[in-house]
Amino acid sequence: MGIFLYFSLLGLCKHPFRFKELLKQIGFIGTGSITVIFFTALSAGMVLGLQGYYSLHKFGAEGMLGSAVSLTLIMELGPVLTALMVAGRAGSAMCAEIGIMRISEQIDALECMAIDPFRYFISPKFLAALISVPLLTAIFDVVGIFGGYLAGVKLMGVNGGAFFAGMEQSVTNHDLRLGVIKSFVFALLLVWICTGRGYFVQKIRGAGFGAESVSTVTTQAVVMSSIAVLVFDYLLTAVLL
């Protein structure tokens, strides 16, 4: 898997770079995920708004709601939920696609034409994920905060000015940076695991053969990348906070 990562990154530097494929993949991973991200973010934000209000209300600190919601979203929920959604939606598809290309000898065929499969279609997926996931995370954060605002301010009657003032005061560059770093790391993890599992579908023990092996490996890829995201979330928080 390490060598796989190396070749995938190396494939980014090889000529000619397939710009069209990159755009297609950004379209698939990024644009295609916007709706899912929007609704996830809105619900998550609204829940945060309600929950936050409920807890803070006990201490009479409803004014803190804006900062609580935005910090949670930017540092934790935004990157994590976006990565999980993308893993479930695009990661599984990538894994299955590459797995099928492997078992139907399409990857062998590429290699026989001396076309580097990494440059041809794996590396563009890496770059597309690295571009799309952070942007999706940003969208998640904004929509989530809006959701928090809806729930906290419009429904529960927290002061709107206080909501945004609290947010402005508490969110620092450091917090934003942590969020961005996380989203890059998660993007790399999920695209690495999902494409790699598909690529090595025939080398994975106990995965079975043919169509069954692709389905087993795709499930594994989504589970593994989700767990990896959560574990790395903890590690990054512990190290960087």
Binding site: Q106, D108, A109, E111, C112, M113, I115, D116
Partner: protein, 267 residues
Amino acid sequence: MSGGADEIIPAAESAAIRFVEVSKSFGERGRRHRVLDRVSFSVPKGKTTVIAGGSGQGKSVILKLILGLLKPDSGQVLVGDRDIVTMGYRALQEVRMLFGVLFQGAALFDSLTVFENIALPLRERTKFTDQEIRQRVAATLEQLELTGHEEKFPAQLSGGMKKRVGLARALQLDPKIVLFDEPTTGLDPVMTREIYELFTRTQRRLGYTAVIVSHDIPQVFTLADQIILLNKGELDVFTDASRIPYSTKPNIREFARQVMGQVADRE
């Protein structure tokens, strides 16, 4: 071409591909399945070699060994005079440029149309303009009676059409060596004959070395300058189909009795 089983190994310089004592097994330790047991043979340059043998006897494995897609457990696989087993990735890519390959399952790129499949090697590996590529692909499509199917996807094709598209793709880069894995399986007899004719024509024109895996016994033997039979890990080489029943190897004689017996009856 005539001659016995004894004068078959050509001098090294006229061999396009050589296997030297190659073994290959699959499976976990404990119940390993030995597909090739120290087999040696060579494929003469510019000639047609037919590999025949029962299903699951390792014919496709031989082709994958030639391409470096599988590594042998022991032995050497030489293309030209270079051992591809020990070769680095870049050198291997260079060697692969010599080959045109038709996989058993055709291995078409299923997200690309027929046209794009055939055009792919030209787009990626040559400097032809779009115009030239379109002309070349159109010409091949016509030869293979595929005109009108350019915009279809592989999933919309019949098995025989897939084979023909795979064949067209394999021949695009004017390969020095072609490897065809069951090019006519799933085709009707008329199309089979036409594929073989096309094949003889292009070989005369391009002078490539051909390795064909086929089940069309004995039809395919008419194409063959050399025949390789494979049974239970053993392999024997013939330049004349009539010598097959007299092989020195028991597994091959057994295979000959099963398959060639009927041939002898028919002739």
